[in-house]
């Protein structure tokens, strides 16, 4: 099953976190999400948000100006 893609490029934190949160609310445990971002703050904020909500960060792929974060939705949902 393909990942839900959240395009949060050119948004500054915490908006990428909010967009991720809004997407995850509609998903089921085990679903995959990929978040595309340009704000380097997401490397800290999205994993922190995942930790407090019990989601798994599977991968963080940092290019020079773009970051892709892959998430697996945890058992408790949002």
């Amino acid at each position: 099953m393909s990942a839900t893609v959240v395009d949060a490029r050119h948004l500054l934190c915490p908006l990428p976190v909010i967009r991720t949160q809004d997407a995850v609310e509609k998903l089921q445990p085990g679903d995959a999400v990929q978040v595309l971002c340009t704000d380097p703050g997401v490397v800290h904020d999205i994993p922190a948000w995942c930790r407090v909500h019990g989601h798994e960060v599977c991968d963080i792929n940092e290019q020079e100006y773009e970051i892709a974060i892959s998430i697996r939705v945890g058992a408790s949902g949002s």
Partner: protein, 347 residues
């Protein structure tokens, strides 16, 4: 009585809300956090934009607080609804364009909506009587509870003993004696309590968590409103006020000058929305032009762009001028001498 009472805590990322939440959790209450994003929140923006700040440690302090507490944190986008608070604050502004009392009422009101939608029982804030001159005073505490519609379901654990008992206290969900009677601007009681709980490395107060408390930012926002003839704004407007040098050489337009690579890159995201300029004969900033621009304005803006480029001392600088979707052309201009830029142009 609920099986286990449930409370929603307003988490700002500061020490007071961290402590207030922990005080209630100590009494066996299930707590989840809520954090509101207005668009004016200081939290990390300028650090994210400016390249020189990228090496600084970054964290979202509200998320950090939630991790320390071991609770969920729900971050809510209130950008659109918040505009009415900024534009028409019933209780007026503070020293700058900060509508602190209306802001607090609005956020507690939104927390109440969340509480009711999620079947929670009460709301926690980190307010302390006398801590803030506009929103945290003895006389404003009941105003916030009343105007937000929350009434006696609003608990301020750090100063609860100085206030009338709330519903969670009268229902026996919370023991008043295990809350506090902090009062005034001193931070010592909070620091002592943080030590007791083992909290270290918490966010230090640094002039507020909102750009609207900042004088320079408020001046730029007031300028935006005055020159547009309306107080309406969108998110891009208020983000751009945080970035670059802003100069208004004529009443009908202003320029936004990137100060370094990170800001230039951020401003590049706005190229389709603004007429913009870039030096091509020398390195220099990306410059956005905001307003109704005449051909005569283009020449002046180009000379200003040249002034902020590495060619400021050159005889002439070539400036690429890009319209909003219009053709690109170049101008060779003499950089405007620094002493011909009045201080009053800087917003």
């Amino acid at each position: 009585m609920p099986q286990k009472p449930k409370a929603v805590a307003l988490i700002s990322g500061g020490l007071d809300s961290l402590l207030a939440t922990r005080v209630v959790m100590e009494q066996g209450v299930h707590v989840e956090g809520i954090n509101f994003y207005t668009g004016f929140c200081v939290e990390g923006h300028t650090h994210a934009i400016r390249k020189k700040d990228r090496a600084r440690p970054k964290r979202n302090n509200a998320l950090w607080s939630a991790e320390q507490l071991g609770i969920k944190l729900h971050i809510i986008d209130i950008i659109e609804e918040y505009k009415d608070i900024v534009i028409n604050p019933a209780h007026g502004y503070g020293a700058n364009l900060n509508p602190c009392l209306d802001c607090k009422i609005f956020m507690v009101h939104k927390a109440r909506e969340w509480m009711e939608a999620h079947d929670f029982d009460f709301i926690i804030t980190g307010e302390v009587i006398g801590q803030r001159p506009m929103s945290q005073r003895k006389d404003t505490m009941p105003v916030i509870a009343r105007d937000s519609g929350v009434g006696d379901r609003l608990v301020r654990p750090l100063c609860a003993r100085n206030l009338p008992p709330t519903l969670p206290e009268t229902e026996g969900w919370l023991d008043r004696e295990r809350m506090f009677g902090f009062n005034g601007r001193s931070r010592k009681p909070q620091m002592a309590l943080a030590k007791q709980f083992g909290f270290e490395d918490y966010a230090q107060p640094a002039g507020g968590c909102c750009f609207l408390t900042d004088r320079q930012y408020s001046v730029k926002l007031a300028d935006l409103w005055a020159t547009r003839g309306t107080r309406e704004y969108d998110l891009d407007d208020i983000m751009l006020l945080k970035v670059g040098r802003h100069l208004r050489p004529r009443p009908n337009f202003k320029i936004i000058v990137g100060r370094e690579e990170g800001e230039n890159r951020f401003l590049e995201g706005y190229r389709k929305r603004f007429v913009h300029m870039l030096p091509t004969s020398h390195s220099g900033p990306l410059v956005l032009l905001d307003g109704e621009i005449s051909p005569a304005d283009i020449e002046l803006a180009a000379r200003l762009t040249a002034r902020f480029s590495q060619g400021r001392d050159a005889e002439r600088v070539t400036i690429e001028v890009n319209g909003k979707g219009a053709a690109t052309h170049s101008l060779d201009v003499v950089p405007l001498p620094t002493d011909e830029i009045p201080a009053g142009w800087y917003i």
